[in-house]
Amino acid sequence: MEYRRWSVHELAQYLRSSLEADYRLQDIEIEGEISNFRIPASGHAYFTLKDAGAQLACVIWASDMATQRYRPREGDRAIVRGAVSYYEKGGQLQLYGRSIQAAGQGDLYVRFEQLKQHLSTEGLFSPERKRPLPALPTRLAIVTSPGGAALRDVISTLQRRFPLMDAILIPTLVQGEAAPTQIVMALAQVATLPDRDLLLLVRGGGSLEDLWAFNDERVVRAVAACPVPVISGVGHEIDFTLADFAADLRAPTPTAAAEYATPQPLGVMQDQIDQKRARMSVALQWQIGKAQARLNRVRLQLRPQALRNDINRERQTLDMLRDRLQLALARDLGQGRKRLASLRRALINAGPEATLARGFALLQRADGTPVSDVEAIQTGEMLTARLHRGSLRLRVEERWQDE
């Protein structure tokens, strides 16, 4: 058997093409512990994945690294997905990672979704629960880490937009085991501070684990139960925590939270004051104008000629009214007369005259009341009988009733 003598370079090329020809190695997930993690100026991430039995060199190019939410740290258990190849110049087999996530993160996502579902069903995130924010907050409470970038962002935003703000920091841890308890306590402590009208709950960006305190059920409930309205600004735009859902307003970043807390920055305030000045001037000028007009009117009325004119004008009015009154009266009278005549005709037709003319008589007692009932008449009583054209005096001789 003849030996072929390889150059190092040839072998390296051979190893590389062999590895790259194995499709199973070209899309592979490997879990291990991160060590020697470093990102030099190039932005590429270099580290070693290892477990108890072996280790593997890894690289993730800067362009891929930029899209990762997870920021690996020394000692983390992580899962890297990528392709295995051979780095000829370095003489080593490498995993070329395209994505990296913390091991166990899958579990976190499941827990996140479950708790979200649970609290959502309970109505903790419902829009009706959201409280309106004050129109011009001036007394802020800030719950965050005293040394964090989030606080720095909030301070500089407040200073720039609305430095009249009176802010109180309630310092807490914002990640780690003790963070939830501290945040819950801070949210409750707001009640003990002098009349705070708004609370900012903020934290800078980080991995899902870093932000986990803001997914803690106790924290989420404390946000919902906070005695003053809460604006949350946790992580970056893409990071949503359950505390965000429970807050009265969710800001994408701590800076944005501070901007929401200062809805009327200095320029707007200045404009408003200018506007009020202008409104006062206009209103006063208008009032002065009105007063002047009234004065002119009074002055005019004081002149004797004007007074005479007024009196004459009043007289004219009176005359006109009188004319109209008489006209109306005359019209009413005329109609009255006509109605009277027709009534009389109707009366004549319906009255006794026409009946008497037909031969009937109207019996009346001495006092003039008509007689209609035999019982009411005594024998011997004197009655008057009215006929068509005259009357008779009668004495009652006898009386009887028809059966």
Partner: protein, 77 residues
Amino acid sequence: MSEPTFEQKLTELEEIVRQVEMGDLPLESLVRLFERGQQLASECEQMLADAELQLRVLENAPDGSQRLTPYMPPENE
């Protein structure tokens, strides 16, 4: 009673603008209100110009008591 806050001054200014616009009061009172309003507007503007963010830190003492202290930015900035 301490110096009124910006908010209180602004509220008073708003009330004055409303009263001047309603014009129910005698002219003399309106003019006095107007002058007071102008003064308030100037004071508000001065407060805006002079304003410096007030930030205090709530400290929980080991004995359970609390106090507010002025915020000191971290040294390494």
